[in-house]
Amino acid sequence: MLKRVKHWGPGVLLLAPTMILVGIFVYWLIIENFRVSLTNQHTAKPSNKYVGFENYSNLLADPNFQHSLWNLLILTIVFLGGTLIFGFLWAWILEQPAKGEGFFRSVYLFPMSISFIASGVVWRWLLSSLQTTQPGGERTTGLNRLLDSVGLGALQNDWWSDPTWGIAAIAVPAIWQLSGYVMALFLAGFRGIPDELREAARIDGCTEWKLYRHVIFPQLSPVMLSAVIIIGHMSLKLFDLIRAIVPDANTYDVQVPATLMWVKYIGSDYADAAAIGTILLVLVALVVIPYLMYTSRAEKR
């Protein structure tokens, strides 16, 4: 027994600071946050009255919050779809060695290195909703102006200033920023496929399409899963980009739970803010926990 402790003890001791910090700052705070969400702490004045799940049922019945969930769904679908399509397309084109491959890769990946706040500055301008056909249209800038001047004026639109689909416009800069990341993931996936496998399939008389369908795609599915998890959970948390593009924090059009939580916090409605935080956590956990279990099992094998 003593020998065992001597064997493991030092490792546990070295890991202890991190275990304590993560224990407090992640797990204890999650519980504490949940506790706050069950109280009536709706103003800055401390108040600890237990109200059960009242805040949750009120939130879920609130059209504002329902709308933020709808927005989150649209955002996630468009964001995921866009990054997967462009990421895969770029990786697929760049997969065969080509001249200048490194240059293209770097260009596609560069938006990833800058903050949503910085890119939000330019996207706010690009996505200005004024159109040349509207009153005051001579003041049109951004993408609408570009579309008009290249003869695609009919494609001008309100971008994010639309209560139903406006959130999809917010996904555009997000796709711009993260498609390169998904490309890098897919490129790594392509590199991981042994050449012999392709050769063998070709010798067996596989057509290119069949080769992709039966050999390449199945080999890429773990990478695809990683991409979905990473982009999906970024989308659930997306906050900075919306704040940077939309100056008014309380804009109904593009409200998502993460921004609504900020609005509640600013308004000192801590119980509601905490409840929204917990709902977000549940959404993320539904996606991430199966993934963590899957990867740790895959590792054991």
Binding site: H7, W8, F25, P111, I114, L185, D240
Partner: protein, 297 residues
Amino acid sequence: MTTATANNKNRARSAQDMKSDSKRNTKRRINRTLKYALLLFFVIVVLLPAYVLIITSFKGTADADPSRAWYLPRTWELDGWVKAWTTLAPSLGRTVLLVVPSALISAFLGSINGYVLSKWKFPGSNIVFTLILFGMFIPYQAVMIPLTQLVSDLGVPQGIPSLMLLHIVYGLPICTLIFRNYYASVPDELVEAARMDGAGILRTYGSVILPVSMPGFVVVLIWQFTSAWNDYLFAAFFSSGRNGPVTIALSFLAGGQLTDYAASMAGALIASVPTLIVYILLGKYFVGGLMSGSVKG
């Protein structure tokens, strides 16, 4: 006679070959042209926002006309840059003071953790690892309300000190993950040999692990530097324009209804320079960090 027919056959075959070869070559050339056309098209699309940032940042009142929004400036003015620089300069200094120490500290702790979790495993260490890893995925909104309380209870001042604490703590999971995966490629025998020689856990770390850790540190430091530099969420909750990092200062410069676009775009460029430089110089490792952040190996 036999050789003659063979020769003829050969000639016939090679003529056919040449024909199909040239056909294949044309096809290949078309494919290649198409490929590069596509690649260039996407380069233009991806760089479009960068073009807008640069041209707009140099525009003065002479270029206020929206019909010229996509053209190069008539006169290249520096007013926007001057205004952006004077507004952002103090926050840039604070951001450096915040980002460098927090990246170094969390990288060092992550290295120790990764070492223990890959080379000094103990019963339950895999569960501990998964529990730590989960901290990487949580939406920070789910801890934010009690976190603001905890940080103020601990007496950590708003602004850089509290942000440093948060970047270190919440950076631990990813740093641990990257180092654990990195050390998995270090042969166990090296550690075993040192242990046999009677070296303890720290001596082994110092003599065997640390000397081969450089690439791991580069990846982790770049990752931490970039994510702390670009953070806005924690900054919004734990600092103000007076004591916050550059993302906060930029959001004040660019926010509001009436925006000075020249200044805010110049500001966006200034705020992005450090991470862009890191990306250009160390892009290879940057990608390495992205990979280890996702694919477990």
